[in-house]
Structures are given as structure tokens and as C-alpha cells.
């Protein structure tokens, strides 16, 4: 989780990732941010994120992103 927040902070340092649950819905992240983050996640955790995972629910909060990473690591 800490590593994920580190990655997110590198993109948008001003956000409080502990509480924010509308990263996509509130348009805090745009497509550009998400793609950058996804590239980093794939690198860091050796997982494959594809278009099917690119739904707002997976990126709305740091917790959701962590959950996505956990699921993909198990596959």
C-alpha cells in the first residue's frame, strides 16, 4: 500500500490518498495520469493491467488500486 501511495503521490502530490474515494469520478486523475500510474504499477508489481481493468471503480481510491494489484498478483 505504501508503495502504491508513493506512485500516486508522484503524479498528484496534493491529494490525500487515505481518504479520497473519487479520484476518477471527480476528475482528479485524467487518462494521462491513469496511464502513467498503470505503467508504474505494471513495472513495480510485475502484473499485466489491460483495458478490461480500466474502469473508474478500479482507480477511484488508493484502496481500490491496491485491491486491483492484489487480484492481478494472484492470477
Amino acid at each position: 500500500m505504501d508503495r502504491i501511495i508513493e506512485i500516486l503521490k508522484a503524479v498528484h502530490p496534493e491529494v490525500d490518498y487515505e481518504t479520497e474515494t473519487g479520484l476518477i469520478d471527480k476528475r482528479i486523475f485524467d487518462s494521462f495520469d491513469v496511464v502513467t500510474i498503470v505503467g508504474e504499477l505494471m513495472d513495480e508489481f510485475d502484473i499485466e493491467i489491460t483495458a478490461e481493468h480500466m474502469i473508474p471503480e478500479n482507480f477511484n481510491s488508493a484502496e481500490a488500486i491496491a485491491e486491483l494489484v492484489r487480484t492481478l498478483e494472484e492470477e
Binding site: D30, S31, V35, G39, T50, A51
Partner: protein
Amino acid sequence: MSLISIDFALFVCLALLIYFAVPKKFRWIVLLVASYAFYAQSGTENLIYIAVTTVSAYICAFLIEKKKEGMDAYLHDKGADISKEEKKAYKAGVKKRQKLILIAGLLLNFGILAYLKYANITIAYINLFRLTHYGRTDFIPFRDFLLPLGISFYTFQTMGYLIDIYYGKYGRERNFFKFALYVSFFPQVVQGPISRFGQIASQLYEGADFDFARLKSGFYRIMWGLFKKLVIADRLAGFVSETMAQKDAYRGFYIVIAIFAYSMQIYGDFSGGIDVALGVAEMFGIKLPENFERPFFSKSISEYWQRWHITLGTWFKDYIFYPLSLNKGIIKLGRIAREQKMTALGKRIPIYVPMLFVWTLTGMWHGSESRYVVWGLFNFVFIVLGTELEPLSKKITAKLTLVESDFVMRAYRAGKTFWLMSFLRLFDINRDVKDAFTAFSYVFQGWGHFDINRIFENLSLPMEEMIVAAIAIVIMFIVDLIQRRGSVRAKIFALPVPVQWCFLSLLVLAVSVFGYYGPGFDAASFIYGAF
């Protein structure tokens, strides 16, 4: 049968009557029959194309899911006996076979679309090349066909479904006829919106209860769509094309007015048509996705494209942009650039390369001529510039102590976006790229010779027509302004019933009296002349 015709209105009434007369579980069948009856009206020979798309997508989805079921069964039986690596390799093998089926489906359907859309323009280019380079005049004859109704829309919608099935977003529709309804649902088959299966499937198949409030709401939306289409768009169409055809004689302010008028025309035309489609669907209890979200209030071009033709934009985003952007090759390319100390470039590659591709395709989607590709590329360049110049723009704003949320700043940003997008539309209303640039250069000439009477007399927009158009545009603007604070219809329906009917009567009256029914439509000119 046009969405805007008496025939269509009668058709919808009849379909509604039968829809609510039959038991709920058969209602989807009424929609399917109505959809195919509607489609056959555009030419029975067109049915073959939509049938091929329906059958091929159904079979591909079936095969893709069968592979998954086989995999699940295998892993269920043998999962405990094989290693993690073996499991991974097995899954990868199944995924590869699923991908092959998907690619076959995509190639067939986009192949048909590409052939129908680009065969004749390709022949034209070949003929031109042979003539200019070899002096050959034995031209290859053009193919004799018309584009089947809504082929771009239903192809995109159906291929989106197939890709979703491949990704396992949801299970496939097992009932072939229900699936055929999803492909052909008549309000949306002509010009969208491009719906996702998950958005509308259950609504299509479950059947809606009769609800007078919903019928009224749908009717309101249809009338509002007709207002935008008939009172604004159709009224301005003649003026726009006349001005562009005679642009040598009408430079400067005339061109600027025509560009503005075309933006109003295309918005009224397209969003009005979508309002009709959504209103009709609403009457059947089906909520189609919105395609416009007040695009002229956008503060940047990328925001504009999230608010104009939304369902096409999200289609390209989900099915072209992301798959390319998340492609290992592209990410690797970005990483190589970063490792070479070109961090800025590395960060941009996984975004701009797919975007360039998306905009080329978006251009091609809009039309087969090269001017549409150039239009797409201009959009790409403007979006890139907008993104790259944002820090500079922020600095300037801060230096001038301007506040982005102030009305003046928002109006400035919206105005800038509006005019940039409007100028780009010169590619739409001119014959080729050169012509569009000529029209653009004329914007800066002949400002001293403006005489509004020449518009009234020579450019198919008499004074009374211009006044009606101007008032209608102001009404459209005000309605859009109100809409920023929630649904306008919801606000109207909160008023006392007599007031609601007053609004509706005014709207119906405006469409019947001020709707532009074109030359030769005697009733319209008669009613209009009597005022």
C-alpha cells in the same frame, strides 16, 4: 424513413401501442420486429450487412465464451495437480486462441465497413495517380452501392460488445434474437448513441411498464430535439453552404458568421437527432446513454471531446487508446526514452502515440476524404498544445492575478475552445483541405465590405429567417445554461400541471410554426407566411 418525418412519428405510435398491448415478457420481440421493419425501410438489401454483423458477432462471442468455459472446467478438474507456471502457460494459450477469434470477428466487420466506406475514394485516388503519372484514361469504375443505414454506429457498438466479451466484462447474450435487438434497436441505429451492452441490455429485454410520466418526458425530449433540428439546424443549412460555395465573393465577417452558423447547425442537427433517439427510447422505458453534455461550455479541447459525441469518444478511449497505451511495446518504448534521460519524452510516448492513432481513426470515421484525416490531426495537435502549454497558461493566469473560476475567465476559455473547434469545422464544409485553408485565409480579408443586406438577399437567409434563428439559438443557449443545474424537464415537471402543458404547447407550436421544412414544403411556408 427519417427520424424526423410524419411516417416515423406514426411508426413510433404504432410500435408503442403494440408494445404496451402485449404481455411484458414479449415486449422485447415487439422492439425487435419494429427495429427490423424500420431498418428494412432503408432498403431491404441493407439487411444483409446488419445480419452479417449480428451473426458473426454472435458466433465469435459464442466461441470465445466456449474457450473460457473449457478453461474453467479444465482448471477445476486439474487445477490442483499442475504448477502455477503450468497454469499460467495454459491460461495464456487459451487467451491466445480467444484473441484469434476476436481478431477474426473484428477483421470481418471492420473490413466490411472499410470496404463500403473507402472503396470508392481509393479507386478515385488510383485513377488520379494513373492519370497523372501514366496518362491513362481507362478509369477503374466506381462501385455502385450506398452506405447501409447506420453501419458505422452499429458496427462500433457490436464490436465493442465483442471486445467486452473477450475481456470477460460480462457474459454473452445467449438468445440470438435478443442479441439481434441489441445490434439493431431502431432509435439508435441511425446515428447513435453507441451504447454498451451492459448499459441497455436488461432494459431492452425486460420490458417496461406503462408510465404516462415517462411518455410525457420522452415526448418533451423529442420536441426539444425537433426544435434544435428543424428551427435552428435546417434553417441555417442553406446559408452555410451558400456562403462556402461563394466564399470568393463573401469574405471576412460573412465567413465568420457562416462558421458560427455551422457550429449551431451541426450541434442542433446532431444533438437534436440524439434527443429524438433518446426521447423515443425513453417512451419504451429505455434509457440510452447521453451523447452531449453542453459541449460549448468546455474550457479546453480535450474537455470538449469528453462532452461532444461522448459515446464515440469513450469507444475510442476504451477500445483503441487504452489497449495501445497499455501495450507492452509502447510502455517499453517510453521506458527506453526515460532511461536515456529523456524523461519528458518517455512520459509522453505511451499517451501521445496512441492518441495520434485515435485521432487519425476519428478523422477517418467521420468521412473517407483526406480533409477529415487532416481535421483529426489538427484536433490532435490542439490537444497536445493545450496539454503542453497548460503550465505556461497557469503562470500567465497567476501573474495577471486572474482566477480560473471567475466568470470572465470561464467565458474566455469556453469562447476560445468554441472558436477553435468552429474554425476546424471548415474542413467539414469545404470540398478539400486546400479549400478549407482558402476559407480560413478569407476570414482575415474583406472586413471593410460587410453589408448585412447581402446575407438577407443573396445567401439564403432572409432577415425574418435570421431573426428566428437568432432567437432560437438564444433559447438553446439559455436552456443549456439552466441545464447546468440539473435536468430542465425535471424543473418543468415540478411546476403546476397547466404550466407544464403551457410549456409543451409552446414548444410544439414553435416546432410547427418555425420549423424549417425546406423549399417546396407548402404547408410550412404557408403557416410561416401567415405570421
